[in-house]
């Protein structure tokens, strides 16, 4: 492997590890690393991130499927929205100037930092209930409470709309979009947080693939950048999952919030 590949893989490991510690994909940290430190053009950075997102999502989804945490039907239904959003996002990105795309990403990072800061409050909020049965039941065994949790998805329409937007963010900026979908599934559709996170992760691979086809077709995908970064993010995610058993994300959350806001400032003023 060349020095460049090792540097990309190292950046990917750090991004994947931080992402996994916070329950995010690595893209939030990978794109600023590629653009601000390695001076990689924004479109190429987004294409690289989207490939890394597929790798981490596929691995995480396989693990969650084996634990029966994923609501496959709900995921497939919401994918109709995320895939449409991702294709639209990818096509929009291809006509946007790199500087504009960089600034949009910078602004979005502020939003993600705010969501991250409020994550505990969001998780503690009681899900909405409209008393209607959406016909999308699910159940899983919760290791923490040692109990089988049963639930029914409600209010699917607003969650589909948020999924459309999350898909758009994925295609436009190379992120997974879970930070928007998980609160929507939990708060609007009443999905328990663990099942919402697993189902969101399950959907991200297909959403990212829809965006990746656009970037591949446009010739933005450099395999020499994407390959080491994707492998690095994948390795980093595994390390992050292990570290999360000994480190509490809450202890690190504010450090990452500051890092994201600093990165967003650098990107917006670039």
């Amino acid at each position: 492997m060349s020095v460049d590949s090792l540097l990309l893989a190292s950046g990917g490991i750090v991004a994947g590890m931080f992402g996994a510690l916070l329950g995010l994909g690595g893209g939030v940290f990978l794109i600023p690393f590629l653009v601000l430190i390695l001076n990689i053009p924004m479109h190429q950075a987004v294409a690289t991130s989207i490939v890394a997102v597929i790798a981490t999502s596929s691995t995480g989804a396989a693990m969650n499927l084996e634990r029966h945490m994923v609501n496959i039907r709900l995921g497939m239904l919401l994918e109709t929205a995320t895939v449409a959003g991702a294709i639209a996002g990818g096509l929009t990105a291809s006509i946007l100037d790199a500087a504009v795309l960089t600034k949009i990403f910078g602004v979005l990072l502020v939003g993600i930092a705010v969501m991250m800061a409020l994550s505990e409050k969001l998780a503690a909020m009681v899900p909405a209930s409209d008393g209607k049965n959406g016909g999308l039941a699910g159940q899983f065994y919760d290791d923490a409470t040692k109990a089988s949790i049963q639930y029914t998805a409600r209010n699917i329409a607003p969650t589909m709309f948020i999924s459309l937007l999350a898909g758009n963010v994925s295609g436009l900026l190379g992120l997974g979009g879970g930070i928007f979908k998980v609160p929507a599934m939990h708060l609007l559709s009443g999905i328990p947080l663990k099942a919402a996170t697993a189902t969101s992760n399950f959907m991200i691979g297909v959403t990212a693939a829809a965006g990746a086809f656009v970037y591949f077709a446009e010739g933005h995908l450099d395999p020499h950048t994407a390959a080491p970064a994707a492998l690095g993010v994948l390795l980093g995610s595994f390390m992050g999952i292990r570290l999360s058993r000994v480190l509490k994300a809450r202890d690190l959350k504010w450090v990452f919030v500051v890092v994201l806001i600093a990165a967003s400032f650098q990107l917006i003023t670039r």
């Binding site: 492997m1 060349s2 590949s5 490939v51 597929i54 790798a55 999502s57 596929s58 691995t59 989804a61 396989a62 693990m63 499927l65 084996e66 029966h68 994923v70 496959i72 039907r73 497939m76 239904l77 994918e79 109709t80 895939v83 449409a84 294709i87 016909g135 999308l136 039941a137 699910g138 159940q139 691979g205 297909v206 990212a208 693939a209 829809a210 990746a212 086809f213 656009v214 591949f216 077709a217 446009e218 010739g219 933005h220 995908l221 450099d222 395999p223 020499h224 994407a226 390959a227 080491p228 994707a230 492998l231 994948l234």
Partner: protein, 118 residues
């Protein structure tokens, strides 16, 4: 509505695992071979899908490039395969509504592939 049968969850999980391991091996192989490839042959090519397929079929790409592009393509197509397996599982469960939903997602993805190839 009946819950998903556990064995069907595993079918989809194995599809993702096989795709991931295959693509990881291809990418790693490509990265290991890259420094061994003469610089003039690996000159930062940014091929799109039809260009890669055309060049690979005609043997115009060094092995390292072929492995890297093949690894990326395997990675991108893994979730598409997963949707295909989901269609099969819903057919096996005789769930017509979700056969329709998953076929719709698959059709959109395949149309995108066809447009990308053209």
């Amino acid at each position: 509505m009946a819950d998903q049968r556990p064995d069907h969850d595993r079918w989809i999980a194995w599809t993702l695992k096989i795709g991931m391991w295959l693509s990881a091996c291809l990418l790693l192989g490509g990265l290991i071979l890259t420094p061994l490839t003469p610089a003039k042959e690996s000159s930062g090519l940014f091929l799109n899908m039809p260009e890669f397929l055309g060049a690979a079929v005609q043997g115009q790409l060094p092995l390292s490039e072929t492995l890297l592009y093949a690894g990326i393509m395997t990675l991108i197509f893994t979730p598409v395969m997963r949707v295909g397996i989901a269609v099969v599982t819903f057919v096996a469960e005789r769930d017509g509504k979700f056969v329709g939903v998953s076929v719709a997602v698959l059709v959109v993805l395949l149309l995108e592939v066809i447009i990308s190839l053209s």
